[in-house]
Symmetry: C3
Subunit: 382 residues, 3 copies
């Protein structure tokens, strides 16, 4: 069921119940999180945090990614300080070994292996350039639940991105992305101008698919610098006004794909004909690493001039600069929240999308606590 907000903002009563959770730092455990870019995982033991849990990632000899709890069963030393022996992990301290399922395969100076010895292994899937890990109940780890970010390795698109280690809770990053009005104030030299806060926007949510979409069309506007340049890649001669769109699509708990672009003004883009425009996707997914930190994986994809590496590089570096401006602000916001515990937050119309995101997360959390034993702690090895 899809519900469209006609008032461009949350209702007063909704407002009230969201007041206190601005700094909410919880996350669902029964979810896929992108722990790392594919290139970050290889034939070495690399430490990551997924949903707050220390995890060691590596690939088997056959190239399949494996995720184990990054703490030896015996003395808690991080397994990532050890080494790979074939497909097994050997602890660097006392040499205890574990297979890809986390089962113990060797103990030093003794022949009998305690049958209960082992570490948690986590379901892992490599898809669309990311390594996704499921920290919760393994029996629910359905790969079909992995968010769709196919633009990241679709042959009709060119994509590249980076990772940001943010010193702010993942929900603050989601807030940031669900309202792009801030581009006008933070990103004035690249993608922001006053068309943003003047344009109306539309917020739609769907409780079943746990999606929220915020759509904003800015018609017949002067393009901001970044988009002016990108349109020139396709239309070197054109120097006029554009129709610009931002369609922000959230998939709970932590993925946001933003369909962005500009087309020559009046050529029908708002009605569906984007043929005289340039289109990009900003792909964003957050891995909560702690209550006040997150690993933010992003990429920028485009469907024009896809074989020009220089455009790929310039676009990646341009977005990287923009996101650095956000990162600075997010870190400052987290610090301010920490030093003002219990502050009553106020919401503006622009916060409508972000508030629906928080409701989706709340519902996932509620669903987890209702169910019988389903947390990662309880869903361990038998």
């Amino acid at each position: 069921m899809t519900v469209r907000s006609t008032d461009h903002g949350p209702k007063p009563e909704a407002d009230l119940d969201a007041l206190t959770d601005i700094a909410a730092s919880e996350w669902p455990m029964d979810a896929w999180y992108a722990a790392a870019y594919d290139t970050e995982v290889g034939r070495q033991l690399a430490p990551f945090k997924v949903a707050g849990l220390p995890v060691v990632l590596y690939r088997t000899l056959a190239g399949v990614p494996v995720a184990l709890a990054d703490a030896c069963w015996h003395r808690l030393v991080p397994l990532s300080m050890g080494k790979l022996c074939g497909d097994d992990v050997e602890c660097g301290y006392h040499g205890i070994r574990y297979d890809t399922e986390g089962g113990c395969t060797f103990m030093p100076a003794q022949k009998t292996i305690n049958p209960s010895a082992g570490v948690q292994s986590y379901p892992t899937v490599e898809r669309h350039r990311f390594v996704w890990v499921w920290p919760g109940n393994p029996s629910k780890a359905d790969p079909d639940l992995i968010p769709d970010i196919h633009w990241n390795d679709d042959p009709e698109w060119a994509a590249d991105g980076k990772v940001i280690e943010v010193d702010a809770g993942y929900q603050l990053i989601l807030d940031n992305l669900m309202d792009l009005t801030h581009e006008e104030f933070i990103h004035t030299s690249s993608i922001g101008n006053d068309a943003l806060s003047n344009a109306e926007f539309d917020t739609v949510h769907d409780k079943e698919t746990r999606q929220v979409t915020v759509t904003r069309w800015m018609r017949d506007i002067e393009p901001p610098p970044l988009w002016k340049n990108l349109l020139k890649v396709k239309y070197p001669e054109y120097d006029g006004r554009v129709d610009r769109w931002q369609i922000i699509r959230y998939q709970a708990p932590a993925t946001i794909c933003i369909d962005v672009g500009v087309a020559i003004a009046g050529t029908g883009a708002p009605e569906g004909d984007r043929s005289q425009g340039v289109n990009g996707y900003v792909l964003n997914t957050m891995c909560p690493t702690g209550p006040k930190t997150a690993r933010y994986l992003w990429a920028i994809a485009r469907n024009f001039a896809i074989d020009r590496q220089r455009v790929t590089n310039e676009l990646r570096e341009g977005v990287s600069k923009v996101f650095f401006e956000d990162e600075t602000m997010l870190n400052a916001q987290q610090q301010a929240i920490d030093t003002n515990p219990g502050y009553d937050f106020y919401n503006l119309n622009i916060d409508a999308g972000g508030m629906w995101v928080r409701r989706m997360i709340k519902e996932m959390l509620a669903a987890e606590s209702d169910l019988p034993p389903a947390s990662s702690q309880e869903a361990g090895r038998e």
Copy 2:
């Protein structure tokens, strides 16, 4: 009513009630604190802390200093990360604007402004080279209560100074200044010698004006190096003994002006004729920035050779070196107090002045808690 201590030290019962508050880190809110030097406040948004509160300081186009709470009403981001738009402040994240009274004048993407939206503004006065801020009940912010440090911009005096960010509570700095016996032990190479701990001193307090004065005369002594040099500025030929004075005047809660000088021995300085001497004022005022940190603004003023910039510079740098020795000790003292919670402190005769200072502060704190709503939190915008 002025009370003179004849015993040169606190009474035993007074001793007892002060034992546990050596590390006291409270401060009155209804008071003027020097947040910054005048030159630190201009047409940029500068973050400070006043009485523990984050405050953004700037000047209007007309040059008047303004102090607002440094946290946006909407999402708590520091306003000092934003920018000035005329006399208004624009938040750097979502563009919300506030006027010099803290009232909201703009919200993005909406025409109606929530009438309750705004941030706290603090009464501010620029006087004697400092920008004074009143963090408490605005209705009590009488400029006549600003401590007199007129030597800092009096045409008959030459003055200059610096700011020290001390990692110690402001009361520890007050302790340090109220007993200058320590000069003998910390500052042996400049202003300390054994005349200090041998000389008697006199402690006077006045509960109505909340002042404490400690007077010490050292008659017919060999001058310490710094004073020897200063006397030579006025009397290049003189190389003999001096009468030296230190008159420490505390004004609650956090200002201490020290009348210091030497005169040619036996020329009547103790009786009031300082004509054959050189006189300086060490001006000190503390702004508590947190329970264990303080912003310490100081200046050294003199009434001789006032047009010689070189003397000004040498004196400022000389005092700066001396204060660095104190800073090191104060930081170590704060750390030692933190690692020994509940330590029972013992007082010596030399602590008489410092203990009266603590009583004055205690009385101000008691007066605040007796009154109806007067704290900065409660005395906000209507």
Copy 3:
């Protein structure tokens, strides 16, 4: 009474009661701890921590080491920031002085000295190149209780070592040394090989002397690189197999001397004839500086080629590299324990020695809490 474990490991029930104390960070107060190497203590005031207490160490004019609490009675400033006046310590802030017993000998600006004024002094003995301090009840400070590490200054041995400031509790370092199986996994390039985890070992404990001994003989093995080189110092021609020994001797609470060596295989070393071998002692003693930190003093002694300084240097640097590998692991283990409070630890056969060590410490702690007032706090100056 000496008890020999025949099962090469703790009994199941013993296993259980040790599960939760892996991170135990308590230490006995009635014990000698090596605070510093002899060369670290001289005619300057040097700050150390002994059994978690701040202590200032110095030598009298006659060269005798003195240990006083490193906090002035008056305002808690560290005495180590002051200076020596003959054999007395003068506080750097207000000039209060203390003698070698901690008694106050001078107060500024007053003639009467408060008779109760003073700081704690700690029994101190210089022996075998270390300065030993007794933080607990002074009346029990019997120098005969100092652990025997005579190899460190015995004329028939050449010894040298270093100090490591470890970011891990002292018990984790004891664990590390009581099981040398880990050499195979951490120290593969120097002293570890698979002979270690294959060899049987023998654990003996004595409750009266509070000693634990773990003995491991590896017969007719290929020597690891370090030992191969050392044997060549004595037998340049020999390139064959060896009998290797590791006899780990723990003396509660925090000293471990390890008798190590190799002899030409089959020449009778296991039976007592070490004449055709090379022998070393790894001397280790830990001073707990806090619940999660320790000062680790070590030396390596040998009884061959004792006049060759180059061998001394190479051996010291070789061991230093090996211990750095341990330090990295220990710091990581302490962090992992901190982030996993309440983790149930599991023990392997190799943990037998370490578990007896913990029992000895537990017994010392129990003995202290049973007795009437004996803690360092209560056993102060009268």
